[in-house]
Subunit: 118 residues, 2 copies
DNA sequence: CAGGATCCAAGATGATACTG
DNA sequence: CAGTATCATCTTGGATCCTG
């Protein structure tokens, strides 16, 4: 039986490293987080994420789709396309959501003028 | 009483957004993960993270230090400097660790040749 | 609506050399 | 050891225009 965990994000050549890079890319985490509530259309995602351009969203979605974290559902007719998380995408999106929540929790402290002791 | 959670990473101008950007920067997550086991010296961190250059590590550490997630401890004498996580940094590092673990869990599926149904 | 193609500026990153 | 300074480069990201 092989090692069930041969992955190592610290290694440049590990496949998990590239997926991590995509997930932690500038728009990756936010895109996954935006899709977590459920399938969404392109422009809805674009509007949900402040500052993202069509180009970057398109590119990010493609990368995540290539990784198997997102699926593109094109309704017949063409005028309507929805993006959704795959089961694996959901696991990752949940984790990024936790990260964001942790961030919210520590933000007040980070913003505090450094030390209450001084 | 003010809203205890006025933060929104989806908003371009929210402070939490920039911290998220730093944490999910190319080397941010890996750097935090590398420091999670405990304080480490510069070159040890550098060696732990495959592919990072001195320059990038230095820059990443400074950014995270500026956010209040990392502290720099310089031992008198100068030849020895250690980097450690602040309590807030630990919370974030834990979250990124969970993200990495989630990644490890789904990797086998992501690598599988697409579908067992075809 | 849902993007693709192009052009271009800005920032990220790396290699190397140098310092205290 | 623990970085910093410089330079060249490669990628990222945005704005704009175009198509089905």
């Amino acid at each position: 039986m092989v090692d069930p965990r041969p992955f190592d994000v610290f290694a440049t050549d590990c496949p998990s490293r590239s997926v991590l890079d995509h997930v932690t890319s500038r728009w990756g985490a936010l895109t996954l987080a935006a899709l977590r509530p459920g399938p969404r259309r392109f422009n809805d995602v674009a509007r949900a994420i402040g500052g993202i351009s069509d180009r970057m969203l398109s590119q990010t979605l493609k990368t995540l789709e290539g990784d198997g974290l997102v699926v593109r559902d094109e309704q017949p007719g063409g005028q309507r396309v929805e993006y959704a998380l795959t089961p694996e995408g959901e696991r990752i999106a949940d984790a990024t959501r936790h990260l964001i929540d942790a961030l919210y929790e520590v933000m007040p402290t980070l913003l505090a003028p450094r030390s209450a002791g001084a």
